[in-house]
């Protein structure tokens, strides 16, 4: 018997548990074109919806004439705000405590705003009918600049009672939304006033868009016979959508089934609730037929949630030696026409208060003013936890500016200010408690790998050669060190629309020893079906290949808050591990019974329980699973199932050290990335291959944002970047080679020590690319220039510095 037992390592490898680069099980269907996305949902008799959208950024609607559209063969209905008003669905609550028009109610506030919803027999007829709806607009003055909006007499939101408080406290002006503060302003100002050195800078983090490959959409099907509504959609948080849909429509929650099928990328774009979802539901209720709404690329870019649009002003103080003493940050946040940011309720500026970064800064203050303008609503966290990309960009630019002020090397300035390993758990000046970190080790490893000193010498030589006229290319060395705050979050301070941000996992082990597990999260490409099975394999001893992972159907999956903010592994991953441990605990009792020993006399060994001191006596998980269903075991219920709802005690704080080497053609403004090194510490690593994939993807989106991707408006509020010709979405062609590396500092409070990684590369990547561009010009007197660093803006930087002779 003993001879037959496979070696422990072989049994372990067979499980494909944590730490192994298991191939993604999802890819079999994705690479064969067999995914099942919302637009693949086709129901008998299904109708198609399309929007009439506003061509103006600010206008009063004098009339809407739907006659010609209704007369078109195949048109079933044309809905306007007037039709939705009796149901009280012409407005809807936003995730940020504001409300938003579902269909234009008397006026429009941004270009592309939904004015009327046409429902027709097919998609083509719907598109033709949209052209036939006549809307009479009276143009109003347009505000696209938040600073101007705060001075202007023009009232954007006439629906809000003048002088009344908003969801986040007093409003200073009719176009003001909130002031959100953290830290100690008086002490911070005092420290800054008395400091030896102060650096000050204002930086604009431009407006951009997550732009997932699949745009947003939904299919609503109201069954009038049984009173049930089924809603398929591109939802990053299906359960929250169910609850909101119930509250809005009055349909009882058990009569609503929300299904997120395969999702073709989200990056924050699919967290919000959009008018299209509401209109498809109403249209299905009105017509009694299933109604599909799928937005096109231009609609996606111009109307569903944008990201960033933060004007950030910082002051940072230090001693002459470079020890940072204080930080002051003020943000003017352009939220567009409605405050539809997707943040936990108590954090209208997200976790912007992580802006002290990876540094031991004794005192700090943050104030964020939210402002209405005539731009699309949104303000989601595009591949980052809530506003963390903004925070990290801010501090990593401030460090560079301070280094210039101190005439110091920026790598060294970082090193002398890092929070030290022994300071963790570290209480930051703006409130967060960092769980674990070892920044110096990561930084030293990064700098050593890229041969930092040699790079600086090469750069110095390049500058001399440039001055002698021997080259027209400058070299930039971009540095960034980031700390993320992910895994929202503890129910005591994190909720969305009142729902605590826990997450969940439910496992059923089948009699033959395979299993299904369902979670409250939903993969949009992260590979949950692969990695969560790996966690369970390690925890329960059932091979990952024998475990099905299912998400996204609210009728079957346990309640959860969904996937964004790198929360799946920190929260649902923890729930999964704990549910696995419950299975194991019961399995231990069964094994002990079968082996006729006391519970404490057996121990878990990879895929089985063995009698302590007698390894030849064991029961495999397969045997135990079978016994759970076919034997009467005294004092033990039949079956082998477990549920865990996990309320995390704290956030997790992944970190990383990135270096980018770039050559810049001063005459054309074209940057060329020579090298990109990314060291990530995400705690325990579940699947190194998936981590690497996430890092590549996040860095590529960082490159996009830093080097050109933006949603730009002209003075009249027209979107200038409405198609992929002008909105930069990098392909393999523009993507450089990435070198990835890691250190491992587990989270002390997470059951498996994992911290999350999907968003880190984006958070750390944006400042790294941007710093590389800016560093190239540092020797010529540049302090700061705004992103995106596209060709003409880089060229302008060079031009303004007199480098074109």
């Amino acid at each position: 018997m003993n001879d037959m037992t496979p070696d422990r390592d072989d049994r372990s490898a067979n499980l494909k548990g944590m730490g192994c680069s298991r191939k993604r099980v999802e890819d079999v269907r994705f690479t064969q074109g067999k995914g099942n996305y919302v637009d693949d949902v086709k129901l008998p008799g299904m109708l198609h919806g399309d929007f009439v959208r506003s061509p103006y950024a600010h206008a009063r609607i004098k009339s809407i004439n739907t006659e010609a559209a209704m007369a078109l063969d195949g048109v079933v209905a044309v809905l306007t705000a007037e039709d939705l008003a009796p149901l009280n669905l012409h407005w809807m609550p936003t995730l940020a405590g504001d409300k938003q028009m579902v269909l234009a109610d008397g006026k429009v506030l941004f270009q592309g705003q939904e004015v009327a919803f046409v429902v027709a027999r097919d998609r083509y007829v719907a598109a033709d009918a949209v052209e036939l709806v006549e809307v009479d607009y009276e143009e109003l003055p347009v505000l696209v600049d938040p600073f101007e909006a705060l001075q202007s007499d023009v009232v954007l939101r006439e629906d809000l009672e003048p002088g009344a408080d908003g969801a986040h406290g007093p409003r200073k002006h009719h176009n003001h939304i909130f002031l959100w503060e953290a830290g100690d302003e008086a002490t911070t100002n005092q420290v800054l006033e008395n400091a030896e050195v102060v650096a000050e800078e204002t930086m604009y983090y431009h407006r951009t868009h997550p732009c997932p490959l699949e745009t947003c959409g939904s299919v609503a099907s109201m069954d009038k016979v049984n009173g049930k509504l089924t809603l398929w959609g591109t939802f990053q948080a299906p359960h929250v959508v169910r609850t909101v849909a119930s509250l809005l429509s009055g349909i009882e929650e058990h009569n609503i089934r929300v299904i997120s099928p395969d999702i073709g990328g989200g990056f924050g774009n699919k967290v919000g609730v959009y008018p299209g979802y509401v209109c498809s539901i109403v249209a299905s209720i009105v017509t009694g037929k299933p109604v599909k709404w799928i937005e096109d690329r231009m609609e996606n870019l111009m109307s569903t949630a944008f990201a960033r649009d933060y004007w950030m002003t910082g002051r940072i103080s230090a001693t002459k030696e470079g020890k940072i003493t204080g930080l002051h940050c003020h943000v003017t946040a352009d939220h567009g026409a409605f405050d539809a940011c997707a943040d936990p309720t108590k954090y209208p500026a997200g976790f912007m208060n992580i802006c002290t970064g990876s540094y031991d800064i004794p005192v700090a203050y943050l104030g964020v003013d939210g402002v209405y303008t005539n731009k699309a609503p949104g303000g989601v966290s595009y591949r980052c936890s809530f506003r963390v990309t903004e925070a990290v960009y801010f501090i990593e630019r401030m460090i560079e500016v301070l280094a210039i002020e101190l005439n110091m090397d920026a790598a060294e300035l970082r090193r002398i200010n890092f929070i030290k390993k022994e300071q963790f758990p570290y209480k930051a000046a703006l409130g967060w408690e960092y769980d674990s970190g070892d920044y110096h080790t990561a930084w030293d490893k990064a700098l050593k790998t890229v041969e930092y000193d040699a790079l600086r010498r090469e750069q110095a030589e390049r500058i001399e050669a440039f001055k002698r006229g021997e080259t027209r290319k400058l070299m930039g060395i971009g540095l960034s060190f980031f700390t993320e705050i992910v895994g929202a979050g503890p129910v005591k301070n994190c909720d969305i629309l009142g729902m605590g941000m826990f997450d969940s996992c439910e496992i059923r082990i089948h009699p033959t020893g395979s299993a299904i597990a369902r979670l409250g999260t939903i993969s949009q490409g992260q590979g949950h079906a692969t990695t969560f099975a790996q966690i369970l394999a390690s925890e329960t001893g059932i091979p990952a290949d024998s475990i099905t992972i299912e998400e996204g159907d609210t009728d079957t999956a346990p309640y959860g808050l969904g996937t964004y903010g790198s929360r799946s592994t920190p929260v649902a991953g923890a729930a999964t591990a704990l549910a696995g441990r419950k299975i194991r605990a019961k399995a231990q009792m069964i094994a002990a019974y079968l082996l006729e020993v006391h519970d404490d006399d057996v121990e878990f060994d990879v895929d089985r329980f063995v009698v302590k001191g007698a390894p030849e006596r064991f029961k495999t998980m397969k045997e135990i699973a079978y016994a759970a269903y076919n034997q009467a075991i005294p004092g033990v219920e039949p079956g082998l199932e477990a549920v865990s709802y996990y309320d995390p005690p704290n956030m997790t704080y992944p970190f990383g050290a990135y270096v980018c080497v770039m050559d810049i053609d001063v005459d054309t403004g074209v940057p060329e990335i020579r090298r990109f090194y990314a060291l990530d510490d995400c705690g325990t690593r579940i699947n190194p291959m998936i981590i690497e994939g996430q890092v590549h993807g996040g860095l590529t989106e960082a490159l996009a944002v830093a080097l050109g991707q933006e949603i730009a408006y002209d003075d009249l509020g027209n979107v200038k970047t409405g198609t992929l010709m002008d909105f930069f979405l990098p392909t393999a062609w523009e993507t450089p080679n990435y070198e990835t590396d890691h250190t491992v500092t587990p989270s002390p409070h997470h059951p498996i020590g994992a911290k999350g990684v999907g968003e880190s590369p984006h958070v750390g990547g944006v400042p790294c690319f941007s710093n590389a561009v800016q560093d190239a010009f540092r020797a010529f007197g540049l302090r700061h220039t705004h992103m995106p660093h596209d060709h003409w803006r880089i060229w302008k930087t060079a031009n303004d510095l007199g480098l074109h002779g």
């Binding site: 052209e131 074209v670 010709m725 392909t731």
Partner: protein, 284 residues
């Protein structure tokens, strides 16, 4: 991104194409690769009630190189321009230019005829054809005629071609000397911020002939005779190059767009041209 309704025609010979064009007038367009036309229809910037697919029309395909003369059928794809060895030997500048047009998917579909007939100032082929001094063959109700590439473009989307005419072929003498097609773009699949087509002939150390055309820097391609003259008879030294650049800058008239403001485009145009001249001269 859904086009208005249209009728789809797929004639097999040119007579039928022309009959359809005569019948429907401005309501009809021929379609080659569809990679300029279909996007315009989907954006509803063009409503084309009658779409006439040229795919099955005989006699519009093929590349021939004979007696120093190159002839391209209008329906030759940009991909075929890249693949054809005889063409690469006779006129390598076509391959160099085609490789910086759009992306492989677009180039499999997009044709050389569609590219020049389109009349979009962003298209790369019209400028290149002006540099090559190509001739376009047009067939219409009154038979066949040829138009010089240098006379073809009138304004953005306006060409010498009459509504009922079809472009059937492009021909030019295989160019002698050095060549370069230089293009700056923001990303793959982008039209030029600035592009330059340059052909130079060298005898001893002297430039004996020069042809220079610029793309996307005006509402039509700019073939700058003065720029060519600035190089001819010189050793293509720094002074000559800057005279050529100056001549081009006098001829172009770029507009601001998302690629950047006018000052930037003018500066980049000069840089791109300088590089193209340098490379062509090295190859001459």
């Amino acid at each position: 991104m859904i086009p208005a309704a249209f009728e789809y025609h797929r004639p097999a010979d040119m007579a039928d194409v022309i009959a359809l064009l005569e019948e429907h007038g401005d309501d009809a367009r021929v379609m080659a690769g569809g990679h300029s036309l279909i996007p315009m229809m989907k954006l509803r910037m063009a409503e084309i009630p009658h779409l006439i697919d040229l795919q099955d029309v005989a006699g519009l395909k093929g590349i021939t190189v004979a007696d120093g003369r190159v002839t391209l059928g209008a329906m030759v794809t940009q991909h075929e321009l890249i693949q054809h060895q005889g063409l690469a030997d006779a006129a390598p500048i076509l391959r160099e230019a085609a490789l910086v047009i759009a992306d492989p998917q677009v180039r499999y579909m997009g044709t050389v005829g569609g590219n020049v007939a389109n009349g979009d100032p962003g298209n790369d082929m019209p400028g290149l054809m002006q540099c090559l001094d190509a001739e376009f063959t047009l067939v219409g109700p009154d038979g066949e005629r040829t138009v010089s590439a240098r006379d073809f473009c009138e304004a953005a989307y306006m060409t010498e071609r009459e509504d009922e005419e079809v472009l059937t072929a492009i021909s030019f003498d295989a160019p002698a000397g050095g060549y370069a097609y230089e293009k700056q773009k923001r990303k793959i699949g982008d039209y030029a911020t600035a592009a330059a087509a340059v052909i130079l002939q060298k005898d001893g150390g002297t430039c004996t002939a020069a042809s220079i055309a610029m793309t996307n820097l005006s509402d039509v391609p700019v073939w700058s005779e003065a720029a060519g003259e600035a190089l001819t008879g010189t050793t293509v030294d720094a002074a000559a190059v800057s005279a050529a650049v100056q001549a081009v800058l006098d001829d172009i008239d770029p507009v601001e767009d998302n690629r950047g403001p006018v000052a930037f485009k003018r500066h980049v145009a000069g840089i791109i041209l300088t590089r193209a001249i340098q490379r062509a001269w090295d190859r001459a």
